[in-house]
């Protein structure tokens, strides 16, 4: 058994494997397959202020080694989420990373404030700020595509949460310079980064000769995007080691299906990883990945802490 303990700033978790937001609902569905307390943390589906019905269907298109989704952040709203979902997660003893979003920066802050005031908040090990959603006040441009918008959201959320609550800004790879967004988020109070969110895509249904998704565009996920995740983690970890961005822990997410996939993200600089689309293929995937990662570290004689960012030390000097 390798030592899987991971430290994310002030937060210590028994293992680095989490679910990914939007790929595990709010827990009850996967609890039918395995005990959620076995995870490093359970990551909730992004919650916003009000209930949302999401987009029309079709919402899904299968792609090579992945899928496109256009769910539209369907969810119960923060009040029902706290009363039903977080309370239940608290009751089973899960460690919970709560994913939040808003149509405006102020809505993010309201959601964070309601969360922090709830009695079940003590099961919350951190807040993941899903800034990869459209900013109504900025013509629908995704917050995470603009350093100033990202900064504002993180700063407002920071004010609503206790000082010791970790905040992870979840970044989109659909930007020219992800390091600039990472830097803006960290300067505004993010204690960590989650990367990557989905990439924007379109699939055409060639029978109907029209977009397959009712919402036209969707987020691409699955093993197809893993190299993009590894690249984004690599770039931000490099910027941190060169002092261009303050050093904060990275949670890697994007295309992890096996323990060795997880090890790629870890070697690129992630201190924890999330399993997303693979869970649709295999509901046991998060725990399976944890056990495969354990075995992969053992084979290499490494602890998890040894492996984080190791590929930077071992890259060939040309």
């Amino acid at each position: 058994m390798a030592d899987l303990t991971t430290r994310l700033g002030g937060l210590t978790l028994p293992n680095p494997v989490m679910t990914a937001s939007g790929c595990a609902a709010n827990g009850r569905e996967l609890q039918r397959f395995f005990d959620l307390t076995e995870l490093g943390a359970f990551v909730t589906k992004t919650v916003m202020s009000d209930p949302r019905s999401g987009r029309p269907t079709p919402r899904m298109a299968e792609t090579p080694s992945g899928m496109l989704n256009s769910i539209g952040l369907q969810g119960p709203g923060i009040t029902a989420f706290l009363a039903k979902d977080l309370t239940w997660l608290h009751s089973i003893g899960a460690r919970v990373l709560v994913s939040i979003a808003g149509n405006t920066a102020v809505e993010f802050a309201h959601v964070a404030s309601d969360l922090a005031a709830h009695p079940a908040f003590d099961c919350v090990v951190g807040v993941e700020v899903n800034i990869s959603c459209p900013n109504v006040a900025n013509r629908g441009l995704v917050f995470a595509c603009d350093p100033a918008s990202s900064s504002k959201v993180v700063a407002l959320v920071r004010e609503e949460l206790p000082r010791d609550t970790p905040i992870f800004a979840k970044l989109t790879p659909d930007v020219t310079d992800i390091v600039a967004i990472a830097d803006a988020s960290v300067r505004s109070g993010a204690t960590g980064l989650t990367m990557i969110n989905t990439l924007l895509g379109v699939v055409i249904d060639t029978d109907r000769m029209r977009p397959q998704l009712a919402g036209i565009t969707g987020g691409l996920s699955g093993p197809a995007i893993r190299p993009v995740a590894v690249r984004a983690i690599w770039q931000c970890a490099t910027a941190m080691s060169e002092g261009r961005v303050d050093r904060v822990p990275i949670i890697g997410v994007g295309g992890v299906r096996t323990g060795e996939d997880a090890l790629e993200l870890i070697a690129a600089g992630a201190s924890a990883i999330q399993v997303g689309t693979a869970t649709f293929n295999d509901p046991h995937a998060p725990l399976r990945v944890r056990d495969q990662l354990d075995a992969a570290l053992d084979e290499r004689g490494l602890s998890l802490a040894d492996a984080v960012g190791l590929a930077h030390e071992r890259k060939v000097q040309l």
Binding site: G22, C23, A24, A25, E29, L30, R32, F33, K45, T46, D50, P51, R52, S53, G54, R55, P56, T57, P58, R59, M60, E62, P64, S65, G66, M67, N69, S70, I71, G72, L73, Q74, G75, G77, A101, N103, S132, C133, P134, V136, G140, N197, T198, R208, A214, G215, G218, G219, G222, P223, T277, A278, T279, F280, N281, D282, P283, H284
Partner: protein
């Protein structure tokens, strides 16, 4: 107690039935838990498949014991890469099984007359349902409809399973030329049916619901909506359903369905291959607040 299992299934029999493939898998633990109307989610393409999403099929029948251990049967139409892969499986090939999933057909507490309507291979779960209903003393009639004779499934089995069978085809190649909705009014009226069960394409389920409602019967329909996971985590298989409180919500057909009361489905939302979110649905998007994944 666990109500669902994930097991490596082993194919023990495959056969062509008209336009379809009928598979029998050894899948220990499923039969004891399953009821008619529930479904199975199969992984396709093997462990390193680039086709990640599960394919969901109604359980045709289950058998808790036998020479090989518990088995389940499904019927597939090979029309995409996943179902084509499944149709090439041979005896002793393995396939990852998650089952049973979803809510089963509700069974009446009184021995009332029931009509079971299947469109194409949508009839697959109805024979098992018929057997359960008959053990409760229900009079069972079946209606099997399809575009053409090769797309009917289970006509012979229906004659064993039901007290009366009516077949319809669009082209008249078998049974009555026309749609199931053409013959349904007479059967409901003649048998005084209290429940009409349906499984098949959405358009057919809508017309079954309309006919049943007009003739004083309750429709219970097993819907078809594409699913990525089958277990309730992906939110892709939603449809607008009116709840007991009169409010419409976009609910997951994999966990809250696949069986719904027909009169609770907002059929008008389904047009041209799209299901829109009704404007009065809980949390329906305001024009300025759309987007996000």
């Amino acid at each position: 107690m666990k109500d669902v299992v994930q097991v490596t299934g082993e194919v023990i029999a495959t056969r062509r039935v008209g336009a379809y493939h009928h598979l029998t898998l050894v899948a220990p633990g499923v039969a004891e838990l399953a009821r008619p109307g529930q479904f199975v989610a199969l992984a396709v393409g093997g462990d390193t498949s680039s086709t990640l999403l599960r394919r969901c099929f109604s359980l045709h029948k289950v058998s808790p014991s036998g020479a090989y251990g518990g088995t389940l049967d499904i019927v597939i139409a090979a029309k995409g890469p996943g179902t084509q892969w499944l149709s090439t499986l041979r005896a002793h090939d393995e396939v990852d099984v998650v089952a049973p999933l979803g809510r089963p057909f509700p069974i009446p507490s009184e021995p009332v007359a029931c009509v079971l309507v299947g469109g194409g291979y949508g009839s697959a779960p109805l024979f098992w349902l018929a057997a359960v209903l008959r053990t409760k003393g229900c009079h069972v009639e079946m209606v099997l409809g399809a575009a053409s004779e090769d797309r009917l499934f289970g006509v012979v089995e229906a004659r064993r399973s039901a007290d009366g069978v009516t077949v319809t085809t669009d082209d008249g190649s078998a049974g009555v030329k026309g749609w199931v909705s053409d013959v349904l009014p007479e059967i409901i009226t003649r048998t005084h049916a209290a429940v009409v069960y349906g499984c098949g394409p959405m358009g057919m389920l809508r017309s079954i619901t309309e006919v049943a409602t007009a003739h004083g019967a309750v429709a219970q329909v097993a819907v078809e909506e594409s699913m990525a996971c089958g277990v309730g985590v992906c939110m892709t298989c939603v449809m607008p359903i009116t709840g007991n409180d009169g409010q419409t919500r976009m609910v997951r057909s994999c966990v809250e369905g696949p069986v719904f009361r027909g009169d609770r489905v907002r059929w008008e939302a389904f047009t041209d291959g799209v299901c829109r979110v009704p404007a009065d649905a809980v949390g329906a998007a305001k024009p300025a607040a759309q987007g996000g994944h």
